[in-house]
């Protein structure tokens, strides 16, 4: 009897609760709210940062924000919604992903007026706040559609304590760097710690191309339908250098699944680590107290045609879909979010700012990285922008590049195979 009563009560409860939960299809409750879909998964430090900005924005302007977190797979959520005419008003994420998905097809709204307008507090021109080269990566038809809130670079990371111990200075040239590596080998310490993942493996050839052949040369390799670009002897030299540097990698690196290689580096089993500037964010709470994050740019290579001062800058930030219902609200929000105080708040989790003039606010862990990003010199995109040619990049380049770095093929085979594969791909 008791059981039956329980059962009935439970059923009644479930039915009532069901009506509440299953009641469907509304969603578009507030027509005047700003619909913002965020790249950061719920609970990520940057999601919390964004929620704070939104709370302040709602309080200050009275505009409601419908905020949700599709997360790192945001474009998978955005794609069907945009096709279905239900575009959100505001999205964010990596610029390079936006270029490949929406930007190159002109599906994002130009924001030149926002850039030319004033900052939120009215004290200056909006675009003057940004580091050079961070606002111009997302362009369509001569107009910018992307507003960055964070700027990254890739470079060598090291523990300053290890350098002090050995009395080392930052290596300016590749030869100096290799000399340091040889010293470490003699000492019995692995010079370079790394994880085996195609994305990181590709850093090497890209940086050698950058320093030996200059910005744009790698892009040309991928887009030359005749394949003649591959015949340049400097390309072979870059491949040769990839092959040569791999002997300084920590033993067993091929078996390092991220984050194993990072851990080994953070524990001091290896001294150098070529990686993005988000490394401090990933490791700040895991290293010893005496671990001091240091970074130096990829060294210059003797005889290289590339500008040794050329720096990589890759940005994350906001975009407005072309079919957004409230583009003005979205612009207002972007203007609000890009205030110095929020950039300072962003750096609490060691994401480097995209603003100039915040030198005094930079945490120690990312000082070197910020110095690289703001240094004088031309800007180039990560991997020369080749991630926007996703298919060539991941189905033509990655497999051959991995074979080279694993030592399965010679640099000559690398060049001839990639030449043939690229020609075949471009003439498909």
């Amino acid at each position: 009897m008791k059981r039956r009563l329980c059962f009935v009560l439970l059923t009644v409860f479930m039915v009532i609760f069901s009506f509440q939960v299953f009641a469907g299809g509304s969603g578009e409750s507030d027509e005047n709210a700003l619909e913002f879909w965020c790249y950061w998964d719920k609970g990520h430090p940057n999601d919390l940062w964004m929620r704070q900005i939104i709370a302040d924005f709602e309080k200050e302007t009275g505009i409601k924000v419908n905020y949700s977190n599709p997360g790192a797979n945001i474009l998978l959520s955005v794609a069907p919604a945009i096709s279905d005419g239900k575009a959100p008003d505001l999205i964010d994420g990596h610029c390079i992903e936006m270029i490949a998905s929406l930007g190159n097809d002109g599906l994002l709204l130009p924001v030149e007026d926002l850039y030319k307008g004033s900052t939120w507090d009215g004290s200056g021109v909006f675009e003057d706040q940004f580091i050079d080269g961070t606002t111009t990566q997302g362009m369509y038809d001569g107009q910018r559609w992307f507003v960055p809130y964070c700027a990254h670079t890739s470079c060598f990371h090291y523990n300053k304590a290890e350098f002090e111990k050995r009395g080392w200075e930052i290596p300016e040239t590749w030869d100096e760097f290799i000399a340091m590596c040889d010293e470490l080998v003699a000492e019995g310490v692995a010079p370079i710690g790394l994880d085996n993942t195609p994305l990181y493996n590709a850093y090497w050839f890209y940086w050698f191309m950058e320093r030996i052949c200059g910005t744009g040369a790698f892009w040309e390799l991928a887009t030359d339908p005749t394949g003649a670009a591959w015949d340049n002897p400097d390309v072979l030299k870059a491949a040769q250098m990839v092959s040569d540097v791999s002997k300084y990698f920590i033993s067993g690196w091929q078996g390092n699944v991220w984050p194993a290689g990072q851990i080994a580096w953070a524990q001091g089993q290896a001294i150098f680590h070529l990686d993005g500037s988000y490394i401090a964010n990933e490791l700040f709470d895991k290293v010893d107290e005496d671990f001091q994050f240091g970074a130096f740019p990829f060294p210059a290579i003797e005889g290289g045609k590339g500008d040794p001062a050329s720096k990589e800058v890759s940005v994350m930030g906001f975009s407005i879909p072309k079919d957004a219902k409230h583009p003005d609200l979205a612009k207002k929000f972007i203007q609000f979010a890009l205030q110095p105080k929020y950039q300072i708040a962003l750096m609490e989790t060691y994401y480097p700012t995209t603003f100039v003039g915040l030198e005094d606010e930079i945490p120690d862990y990312i000082k070197d990285v910020y110095a690289i990003i703001t240094s004088d010199g031309p800007v180039h995109m990560m991997y020369d922008g080749l991630q926007s040619l996703g298919e060539w990049w991941s189905t033509v380049f990655y497999p051959v590049d991995n074979d080279l770095i694993y030592g399965n093929i010679t640099p000559e085979e690398f060049v001839s195979r990639l030449k043939a594969d690229t020609v075949a791909y471009l003439n498909k």
Partner: protein
Amino acid sequence: MSNSFKRNKKLALPFLLPSLVVYILFFIYPAVSGLFYSFFDYKGFTRDKTFVGISNFTEALSDKIFWGALLVNLKIMFFGGLFIFLLAFAFLIMYQCIAHFKSTFRALLFLPNIISPVAICILWGFVFNQNFGLLNNLLTSFGLEKLIVAWLAPEYIMVSLIFVIVWTYVGFYFVILVSGVSKIPDSVYESALLEGASPVQAFFKITIPMIWDVFTVAVVYWLISSLKMFELPFSFTGFKPRMEIWNIPIYIYMLGFGRNDAIYRIGYAAAIAVLLSIIVMIFVQISRKLMTRESIEY
């Protein structure tokens, strides 16, 4: 066919119709329209599609990565399946030899199935690590230093992956087989054992024939789920799967929906999905043909 089967005919329509309606409307209709994209060049961000005929299919057939991914699928299917079923049957015999803690053992064997694949992959990534991994520490302490390798390096990663797959899924198939055995009447075994049959004989003479249908279900389910396996291999090498372990579902994801270096070729991804569905159907039909037999007598 028996009479009762003919009598049950009356039930066919009312029993089938609700399922068919839901199944067709909410799965088959969208799935088939999705597969239709395979005849188009389609990026996914507008409704614009360009008809390209069968060129996506011809491209797939000459695509090295597709064939490589298929090979990975077949390796997982064959070797993973072999070890999973050998182990599951071995466990089954042993399960029938013991009297205590049976449900505990069964629950624990099944447990890895409900752990998130991401956690499983992080755990085994640490176990297999060359430098601080548990496995190599263990080998060292047994004096087997010769066997130490980088278990997740390209040469060995398939072995490690298949090991983790077997470890994770063997409990699932074991539970299916146990539920098959559970409906065999005890009397059948008792008479056989009275006649002096050993457990192994009883296993081959009674258990296998009696659970053949359930076994068929398990095999077919393995074929399908191994060919469609996504999450575990996807998480196995960190935040991005390394190419050595790209199987077809991972390739489909990379082609149509991936991130970082996404390709946005939903039409091509759909063409490969069509090929995958065909491959699955071929394996299912072959195995059902091979494994069907006359119904058993009690």
